[in-house]
């Protein structure tokens, strides 16, 4: 990282799944499934011309790849609407209400009339070839550490189908329709964020606000963040699909580094005097150089009748191999483009040669053929001639962009926090009205109703947790940010269990179970609620909570009853407890005789060993105290 502070502008787009009963445009449930689908069908998509006769270049390119999309669906939880075999139903009112609620909480101003639009996306992720989306409000802000971050727009849109697999050979992509149509709220902030740390804080703040409604889905994949980042002197780069909030800081830091390094490369190229027109789309067939090559990759391509084509990149020597993000070089960016536009497996550039079974003499031959001077570099691709040309055209284009600095593009986040090329920025020619849905007026009465039902804001909630629930401040703050916020309030208010116990369970016990390696994400909300009902009715002692949760994490479908049976935690009746206490007393006759009432501690310990988790500790201590006393009385009486 740079030592000095770099000026950046960053905006975040949040996409959060709403926890509605039905999908946005049909009556299907909003659930994802793991079992096998029972319907499969195949489709093609093709780009449509906009009113100006323009076709979105990204859309056109997707089409030219010639893919067939295979859709998997469930006849009971997906319908003809997801299959694009029936027009959409009316916009889901529940989703509209939730998103307006969130808009109002962010001080965003709703429009008077909502129009559903079609955003053209023809990578197959939508059976229609477009994503339905509607802008519901503009403006608004949140405050993070005293600084105002503006909200630009809030939209309500349908989620896309889930990509299951891609087969480049058969040119088929498999998508599953369970996710298609689940309502998403999209919140876009203005580019007011100035550091990776600030971005993280904004993400947490918005995440908290969304959870506080109790009306959004939770868990991995239910919220996705897109980032817009530009470093001073760089370009606006869109990074799609950051799934984990913890990654935001790293992705931004890496992107800053990438843009700065690209700017340095630009400066270096300028110093070397490279002119744009020196990078020519001239691809030289160097296949003959590789007749007896020991490079496996090239051998394989040649054995299938492929060619090796080379592109000279003047004055690029040393720069293609330069690292611009951890583990990613300018050459990696070339390769990304070659793969995307040319469909090739990869490229080889001169900064990494000799290597890959290609020796110095081969490098020299290529340099001679291309007439390379000292500072010149080259890139070779081995594949069918058409693919080589498409790939090298893309590399040449990317090299020209390096002369300009940072290309304006859409990138995708890798799990390690780096990013890769995803596609060119979509053109403006891709937003059309959805003619199958009438516009929806937001009447002042309707908005008033939403306004009256707004949830408490975080500050109010915190206050409630401390003053009414009696949580200490640390636990209250923890709870406010908790994944389990909504069931916490439900359990405290509807079941009436001590807030501190519930909070401790949902935060501290869960966390320590996770540390011990239990898959706590498997535990279903209903089970937790059920567990606390048992706690409330004193069927289960609170000491048993960790053990039961651990069991549920490994047996998510087991009932609480089963857990109690399997763990031997069936609650004890007072009679059973008394019997156990009596046995323990009998076994410790000697001790009691010598210690008298001071034997209480030891007896208690022995009893708890047997009954821990089966009955509340206080009850045990009460029974032990009474029984011990009468036991002592008996001893006295008989002695």
């Amino acid at each position: 990282m740079e030592g000095r502070r770099v000026k950046i502008k960053c905006g975040i787009e949040f996409h959060q799944m709403l926890n509605t009963k039905n999908k946005l445009f049909c009556n299907c449930p909003t659930i994802l499934r793991k079992d096998d689908p029972d319907i499969i069908f195949k489709r093609k998509l093709r780009p449509t011309r906009s009113e100006l006769g323009e076709v979105d270049p990204a859309a056109l390119f997707e089409f030219k790849k010639g893919y067939t999309y295979v859709y998997e669906a469930y006849s009971d939880t997906t319908c003809l609407v997801e299959m694009d075999e029936e027009p959409p139903h009316d916009l889901n009112r529940e989703a509209l209400e939730i998103s307006l609620m969130i808009a109002l909480m962010l001080n965003s101003r709703p429009v008077d009339e909502v129009f559903v639009m079609r955003k053209i996306v023809i990578d197959g992720s939508n059976t229609t070839g477009f994503q339905r989306t509607a802008l519901i409000s503009t403006g608004g802000q949140i405050s993070v550490d005293g600084k105002t971050i503006r909200i630009q727009t809030i939209c309500l849109e349908e989620d896309a189908a889930r990509k299951i697999s891609e087969n480049a050979k058969t040119k088929e992509i498999i998508y599953r329709l369970d996710r298609l149509g689940i309502p998403l709220i999209e919140i876009a902030t203005a580019p007011d964020i100035e550091s990776p740390e600030e971005a993280e804080k904004v993400a947490y703040k918005i995440g908290q606000l969304l959870r506080i409604t109790g009306r959004v889905k939770r868990g991995l994949g239910t919220i996705r963040q897109d980032l817009n980042i530009s470093v001073e002197g760089g370009a606006r780069v869109e990074i799609k699909g950051v799934q984990k909030i913890e990654l935001i800081k790293l992705v931004i830091a890496n992107e800053i580094q990438r843009q700065l390094n690209l700017l340095k490369i630009r400066d270096e190229l300028e110093k070397r005097g490279l002119k744009l027109e020196e990078i020519r789309n001239e691809f030289v067939d160097v296949t003959e150089v590789f007749t007896n090559t020991s490079s496996k990759m090239i051998k394989k391509a040649l054995s299938r009748g492929g060619k090796v084509l080379a592109l000279k990149l003047p004055k690029f020597k040393g720069l293609i191999g330069r690292e611009i993000q951890p583990g990613r070089r300018l050459g990696t960016e070339f390769a990304d483009r070659a793969r995307y536009w040319g469909g090739v497996g990869g490229i080889i550039h001169s900064d990494e040669l000799p290597g890959y079974g290609i020796g110095e003499s081969t490098v020299q031959r290529i340099r001679e053929i291309l007439n390379c001077k000292d500072l010149d570099a080259f890139v070779i691709v081995a594949d069918s001639k058409d693919k080589c040309i498409a790939a090298l055209e893309a590399v040449a284009e990317r090299a020209r962009e390096a002369v300009e600095g940072v290309p304006n593009e859409t990138r995708a986040a890798n799990p390690d926090g780096t990013t890769r090329y995803s596609r060119p920025m979509p053109g403006k020619a891709r937003m059309y009205p959805e003619t199958d849905i009438r516009p929806i007026r937001l009447s002042p009465e309707f908005l008033d109703k939403v306004r009256r039902n707004l949830p408490e804001m975080p500050e109010q909630k915190l206050d409630k947790f401390i003053r009414i629930y009696g949580l200490n401040e640390t636990l209250a703050k923890q709870m406010l940010n908790s994944y389990h916020l909504d069931i916490f309030e439900y359990i405290v208010e509807k079941i009436g269990v001590s807030a501190t116990l519930v909070a401790n369970t949902l935060e501290n016990i869960m966390k320590s179970l996770r540390r011990e390696g239990y898959p706590i994400e498997n535990i279903k909300d209903e089970k937790i609620i059920e567990l606390f009902k048992h706690i409330k009715s004193e069927n289960i002692a609170k000491e048993a909570i960790p053990e039961i949760l651990a069991f549920l994490s490994q047996n998510p479908d087991a009932s609480i009853e089963e857990a109690l049976d399997k763990l031997g935690l069936r609650g004890l009746s007072p009679e059973e407890l008394e019997k156990i206490v009596e046995e323990v007393l009998q076994n410790n006759k000697q001790l009691i005789a010598s210690k008298g009432e001071r034997a209480m501690g030891a007896i208690m310990g022995d009893v708890m060993k047997i009954v821990r988790g089966k009955i509340d500790g206080r009850t045990v201590s009460e029974v032990v105290r009474v029984k011990l006393k009468s036991f002592l009385d008996d001893i006295e009486a008989t002695s």
Partner: protein, 437 residues
């Protein structure tokens, strides 16, 4: 809008009374829209609507030029490929939305078709002609007469070796039946094609359907009127259905069209045509088409329902109706109370044809006494004819004759494949586990 001296498609700043401010292009208000509101296309592409009042301020930023459609070029004729005439009549297949106004307009030039479906260049030379541009629900028997005339003229001149008709899907089955009777003794196929998803969507079924329709018109071994549409939910194969046996059976699915009480004529997959029946009129360039394109419009298709009153039939007879196709229950029944009024109407020269609202299966009026009585009253049993086809056929017959004996004879003669005497068990689709894998 006049008040602010701005026009549709101007780029403006709009400041509402409550302080909200937006920048965008003013779009035309759709029909039935609220006159006190304004629709803007914001710079991010979204459309949004606002209520305006006396406090609203609108500032003109710039005038936008009217959008122009990009020019498209018709490819040169490929020698050796069949010449196909494609007639446009309207419907989803030929409609496109004007994205700025939201209005749907029709397009139907060869240039447009080729630019939308460049694959056609490899299949045939397609010329186009717009006959009309109407939704299929607005189609009338007079329109059938016009289309039949066009088809006949093009085939008689011999410039084309196949006709494709783009048609809205709602009444495509009726038009297909009408053409089957109106233009007979065909030398080449006459193919109707439509779309269940409009052409302006990336997922449109137009492409596959038109490719299959043009392929069928150009190369199919049969010379009949047929409907070519998707055969499944997938963009996989299309089916050619005989014009007199085809019915739209689903409101929205791509594979809405079915052959009822018969086999489809052919399956078209990846530009290959496979016949599904031996029973067809083969393609024959030497055959001379026959045109009989008049239709009587005092004919009604009447669906029987429990409790239907005699006065319904009396009203129709009084209004001068000459033919009534009954869509009866089951094997071909209406309530007993109607028999005397039907009997009287037949004596007055009104033709009655019985079909079934069961859709699948054959009329048999000998099983129950009501059927026998209806036959005695003079009702013509419609065999396994579709009610829609029987309606079209009766309209066509009554334009030729008012002799009820002649009407009966023609109704019971298989003229264009409308009657299938073989009740094949497989014609009735298994519903469950339909669509499953």
């Amino acid at each position: 809008m006049k008040k602010y001296s701005v026009e549709i498609f101007d780029r403006v700043n709009i400041i509402l009374g409550d302080g909200r401010a937006y920048t965008g292009i003013i779009l035309p208000r759709p029909r039935h829209g609220d006159p006190n509101s304004i629709i803007l296309k914001l710079d991010n592409g979204y459309n949004v609507g606002f209520s305006v009042d006396e406090r609203t301020k609108i500032e003109l930023i710039e005038k936008m030029p009217e959008p122009k459609l990009a020019e498209v070029i018709k490819p040169k004729i490929s020698p050796g490929l069949p010449m196909i005439m494609m007639l446009g009549t309207g419907g989803t297949i030929a409609s496109r939305i004007d994205y700025r106004s939201g209005a749907v307009y029709s397009f139907f030039t060869a240039e447009e078709i080729y630019s939308m479906i460049p694959e056609l260049i490899e299949i045939a030379n397609v010329d186009t002609e717009t006959v009309f541009s109407i939704f299929s629900e607005d189609m009338t028997p007079q329109n059938w007469t016009v289309i039949a005339e066009k088809v006949y003229q093009h085939l008689k001149k011999g410039d084309y070796t196949g006709i494709v008709i783009a048609h809205g899907t709602d009444t495509m089955g009726y038009t297909a039946a009408a053409l089957s009777f109106a233009v007979r003794n065909l030398p080449y196929p006459v193919i109707l094609v439509g779309a269940q998803r409009s052409s302006d969507r990336p997922s449109t079924d137009t492409i596959e359907n038109v490719i299959a329709a043009v392929t069928t018109a150009a190369y199919a071994p049969f010379a009949e009127v047929a409907v070519v549409m998707h055969g499944s939910m997938s963009d996989d194969f299309c089916l050619a259905h005989r014009g007199t046996k085809v019915r739209k059976c689903h409101t929205s699915r791509r594979d809405a069209f079915r052959t009822i009480n018969g086999d489809p004529l052919a399956i078209i997959r990846r530009r290959q045509i496979k016949m599904l029946t031996d029973d067809y009129l083969p393609r024959d360039p030497d055959r001379t088409p026959v045109l009989e394109n008049s239709f009587e419009d005092k004919v009604i298709l009447l669906k029987f329902y429990p409790g239907m009153k005699e006065e319904i039939i009396e009203l129709l007879v009084d209004a001068g109706y000459r033919g009534i196709v009954l869509e009866g229950t089951g094997l071909g029944h209406v309530r007993n109370e109607l028999i005397s009024v039907i009997s009287k109407a037949v004596k007055d020269g009104v033709a009655f044809v019985m079909t079934s609202q069961c859709i699948w299966g054959r009329i048999n009026m000998n099983v129950y006494s009501t059927g026998v009585d209806l036959l005695k009253a003079g009702v013509i049993p419609g065999e396994d004819m579709l009610p829609e086809t029987a309606f079209v056929k009766l309209s066509w017959i009554l334009a030729k004759t008012d002799d009820l004996d002649e009407v009966r004879k023609l109704m019971l003669t298989n003229i264009a494949g409308e009657i299938n005497y073989h009740s094949n068990a497989k014609y009735y689709p298994e519903v469950y586990p339909h669509g499953r894998t």
